[in-house]
């Protein structure tokens, strides 16, 4: 074999077509970033002014206010938020269960699968605030709108994750149940559901925790709960109370997350 000349150069192959393309792509990205900044008129002076205002707001918030009258408002709003979260979780999960089975490729026929996935995609397409705005238009202000919006969003989350879990089950256990002569529904109940039950419980708790967080925010567009109270306090320049509400939300969310984490660790 003829000795090849020693090759002393090596460059890492680029993920792009070639190096020219690579630099062209970088250039386009840099240009787009600069254009976006220019388009939004973000300037150093504007940022400095914003900083001053933020500092002023913060100062006017301290100390947080908690008179008996305000406490009543706070508790009322918070209880409504938590209640919305619980109801929305229950409704959402009940609706999600059949959707999840529809959206699992290994248990649903193709057309049903497509329908299930479609439902999930629609639910995931919009932010909860967008959904809440639409629902408020439809059913008016208040907790009902919040419950509907959160229930709807629960479907996209819960059904999607559960469907993926169903697709991962051990097919052997399903085979065995089918081999006994069980019908379709019995096969689901005995062969599939026991395999995903811990996940159903875990996801429900997880979604409850997420719904608590979201229920504090949908009030801002009029869908009930503590969010409405918060918006109100801002509108009235009642910043001391705003801070109280924000701290209360943080506390409730943290408690929800702790409960959720503990329960899920126990179940799964």
């Amino acid at each position: 074999m003829a000795a090849e000349p020693a090759r002393r150069e090596w460059t890492r192959p680029t993920a792009f077509y070639n190096h020219w393309v690579k630099y062209a792509v970088y250039l386009v990205i840099a240009f787009f970033l600069l254009w976006s900044l220019w388009d939004m008129r973000i300037s150093v002076a504007r940022m400095a002014r914003g900083w001053d205002q933020a500092a002023g707001l913060l100062v006017s918030m301290i100390p947080p206010e908690l008179t008996p009258r305000k406490r009543e408002l706070l508790v009322e709003g918070m209880v409504e938020s938590v209640a919305m979260a619980v109801v929305a979780t229950v409704i959402g999960v009940v609706v999600s269960l059949p959707v999840a089975f529809m959206a699992a490729e290994n248990v649903a026929p193709k057309p049903v699968y497509a329908a299930g996935r479609g439902l999930i995609t629609v639910s995931r397409a919009f932010h909860e605030l967008i959904v809440a705005i639409i629902v408020v238009k439809a059913v008016g202000f208040g907790a009902l709108a919040g419950v509907l919006a959160l229930s709807f969003k629960t479907i996209g989350f819960f059904a999607k994750l559960l469907a993926e879990e169903i697709e991962d089950i051990d097919a052997g256990q399903v085979d065995a149940i089918q081999a006994t002569g069980a019908n379709q529904l019995q096969t689901l109940l005995f062969g599939v559901v026991p395999q995903v039950l811990p996940r159903i419980v875990g996801l429900t708790i997880y979604r409850w925790d997420i719904n608590i967080r979201h229920s504090t925010i949908v009030g801002i567009v009029g869908a009930g709960g503590i969010g409405a109270t918060l918006l109100n306090s801002f509108d009235k320049y009642d910043y001391d109370f705003s801070l109280t509400i924000i701290l209360a939300i943080v506390a409730v969310v943290i408690v929800g997350e702790i409960v959720s984490a503990v329960v899920r660790r126990r179940v799964q």
Binding site: P109, A176, G181, P194
Partner: protein, 294 residues
Amino acid sequence: MLSVTELAKTYASGERALRGVSLDVGGNEIVAVIGPSGAGKSTFIRCINRLTEPTGGNVELDGVEVTTQSGAELRETRRDMGMIFQEFNLVERLTVMENVLSGRLGYVSTWDALRRKFSGEDIARAYEVLELVGLSGHENDRADELSGGQRQRVGIARAVLQRPKILLVDEPTSSLDPETSRAVMDLLTTIATDDDIPVLINIHEVSLAEEYADRIVGLRDGEKVFEGTPADLDEAVRDRIYRGTDVDQESATGAGSGPDEGAVAEDPDPEDESDGDAGGEVDDVVTDGEIRRG
């Protein structure tokens, strides 16, 4: 009486797992199907109760054509065929009792199944069968708490509770140690005699087949290359089944140094077998959609 004629299966991948296998099983005989990994043993058993859909040939149970059945008819046929699996296939998170009683699912309404409401007769029988398989007192254990041998006994109890007309057994001992394997084989023999039903069993260990079977069938590359009594299973036949060679070729290549029984039995790799079959199953689930059809 199970009568299989020219059963064939070609997977979507183009793999021809079965190329026309015929076999009759009846009375209370034990028929062992032996053969190397990938010979089509599992496919053969699964095509009989149509967990895998055959692509050719016929299966008849007591004169009733099975391959054309669907819906309720097929479910009724499946009730009459108890199946026991290599990996036990218990529903891991259910109790032993629920697993055993699931053998009666073909006879109870879905609503009763949901509420775990089985007839007193079924429950009494379940206790009886649990005692038969040596698992009395374990009825409230969860299936995933049991050892391999105990799990396979639950699998057997589940199949027996169906009061089947035949037992289809797919590699019942591959996941078990030798001693437990023998206990399981003893149990299957007892059931065949007591319930007076035939047992069709895929098995890796040739020694177990020789000891327990009334009749042995050899599969190779999806074809039946041998059928006879254990006594007929001589060295030449084994070579034909496991090496695809005649004795002459064997000695010509100098490889015929006479592997003993143990070597032949241990030779096939159980991993290969289950992997190959799993591939087929997945194909089936995705393309044919067993659940939605049933």
